[in-house]
Amino acid sequence: MNLHAVGVVYRKELTEWLRDRRTLISTVLVPLLAFPLLISGVISLSAVLIGSAKKEVPKVMIIGGEDSPDVIAALRADKELEVIPYADDWKNQISEKQIRAAVEIPPSFQTSLEHGTPKTVQIDYYEGEIKSGFGAEHVEKSLKAYRDDLVKKRLEAKSLPASLIAPFDIKQENVAPPEKVGGASIGSFIGYMVIILSMTGAMYPAIDLTAGEKERGTMETILSSPISRLDLVLGKFLLIFSASLTTAILSVTSMGLSFAYLGHSLSKANASGAGIQMNLGLMSVVAVFLMALPLAVLFAAVLMTIALFAKTYKEAQSYLTPMTFVVVIPAIASIMPGVELNPKLALVPILNTSLVCKEIITGTYHWNSIIMIFASTCVYAAAAIFLAVKTFQRESVLFRS
């Protein structure tokens, strides 16, 4: 192997690669913009929708209750509800989203209350419709407040303490460190994205540098130069690997920034301080990269080998598209709840890296599995490079007709 020659090939491929507009789009623009757009787009859209649903004063209708003025007065007094006059088609109005909910007060409700015989108040709403759901919640809250008030008055009348009906309080508190909370919510997603993007980043240059070269007729030109095929294939491989890394690094940076921004704006919005934790430790991100490194080598070598069999760009694309599924399926499997790392899965390429990334992001370092996964992926990657070099030396592949 002649390192100088490998460097010459790499420099030339890099020059050509940087001059290709398609490259800029697939390797730089897409990963940089996809996340901010996707994450902030989807989340802020849902935040806007939920926010506006929450802000809305829901229109509700009261059915019955003519003989129960107290409860009706309490509902009408609630400023977060707009009680509108009764209409016969109230069910239809809920379905048509003209009103959000309806409260059915049973006959002689007030009298039963006074006699201590409980009756049921029914709230009617449109299941799955977010604004109707909030409307029903509001009505329930208002009714609960009325009920609590009634209980308080009754206890006072009998000179009993309020603690009689609430002898103790219950609350929930998170004790996991913020990094783990953030990791658990987005950790598996980050590992998944790094894996998918290091493959998509390698895909385009892998085609361009092999089948693309055959199609443009430059393969014979380069093969007539004195460079050895080993050096040539290594120079090409390094460029594909760089593209894969660039895409992964850019996307994770952009994803990290998007999440940080999102976490910041969410905790700001949530005054109670219980905002969703979105910070990832720099250490864990670096660790994810280190784990993804041999996988990127594997992708670059495998994609290059497959694309080399094709005669044209299009043919290569049709060979490599199924590869996307081969990568996506194990990567998605790792996100599934309950799929945990074990010695057998630690040997399954892609899935193992995806699973270990999930653990690393949550701050869990099982060194035995980390070493095993890194080593096994390195072995697969080395085998893939060997295969790529061998394929490049086969005339039947280079001059397939």
Partner: protein, 252 residues
């Protein structure tokens, strides 16, 4: 110096089985001479030349170029050969100068030698006007000149041309023919394949007639004319190849 010794190449095709593209071809060509390889499409010209340029490996036999064996020392052979064919395209996103420099570096030239070599070739081929233009923006003639510059940058003693003028307009073809003659005048060993008889008459010292992978006839143009009592080269080829073509037609 080129010396082909029993070069043979067999391919395997799923439908047609084994294909004998070249069979036991031997010839030699000395410095300052042009050897013309003549034959129809599919006769084995391209395969023979690709074996000389070490792009393909012979199934049997070998060739020695400038003292290096194409099988044992393919990289050294390539360092001594300039190879040009209609299939040797240029990298579209490199400029003419970058392309020539790239091949200079692949040939191991140091930066100082490379710079003077590139300047010299660009002046000689009158290429300074499009030095910094990307190859995908060049006209056919400019592309051809850039290809020539690419084959010359390492100043190889042996030049291999595979149908270098196919598909080119008259003016561009003339440039190529002039360049081939110039190579001979500079003492290089030149081998080229073509269909165009006027090019053969103008350039070749020796010719070899190849058909169905076999070298059927060899000699200087005057020798062949005497042997076949025919002045027209095309007629000579028909006389050499014709009986075989006719018997193949009857057999099939």
């Amino acid at each position: 110096m080129i010396e082909a010794r029993g070069l043979s190449k067999r391919f395997h095709d799923k439908k047609r089985g084994e294909i004998r593209a070249v069979e036991n071809v031997s010839f030699s060509c000395k410095p300052g001479q042009i050897y013309g390889l003549l034959g129809a499409n599919g006769a084995g010209k391209t395969t023979t030349l690709r074996m000389l340029a070490t792009i393909l490996e012979p199934t049997e036999g070998t060739a020695v170029i400038c003292g290096y064996d194409v099988v044992d020392d393919p990289e050294k052979v390539r360092a001594n050969v300039g190879f040009l064919s209609t299939a040797t395209a240029l990298y579209p996103r490199l400029t003419a100068q970058e392309l020539v420099e790239y091949f200079g570096r692949l040939n191991g030239l140091d930066e100082a030698t490379l710079k003077s070599r590139v300047d010299d070739i660009f002046n000689r081929l009158d290429m300074n006007g499009f030095r910094d233009r990307r190859c995908d923006k060049l006209s056919t003639g400019m592309k051809q000149k850039t290809s020539i510059a690419r084959t010359l940058v390492h100043d190889p003693p042996v030049m291999v041309f595979d149908e270098p003028t196919t598909g080119l307009d008259v003016m561009t073809a003339r440039t190529i023919i002039g360049f081939i003659a110039d190579c001979r005048d500079r003492g290089k060993t030149v081998i080229f394949s073509t269909h165009i008889m006027s090019e053969v008459e103008r350039l070749c010292d020796h010719v070899g007639i190849i058909h169905d992978g076999k070298l059927l006839e060899e000699g200087t143009v005057p020798e062949l004319r005497t042997k076949y009592s025919e002045h027209n080269l095309e007629e000579i080829i028909v006389k050499v190849v014709g009986p075989l073509v006719n018997s193949e037609a009857i057999a099939s």
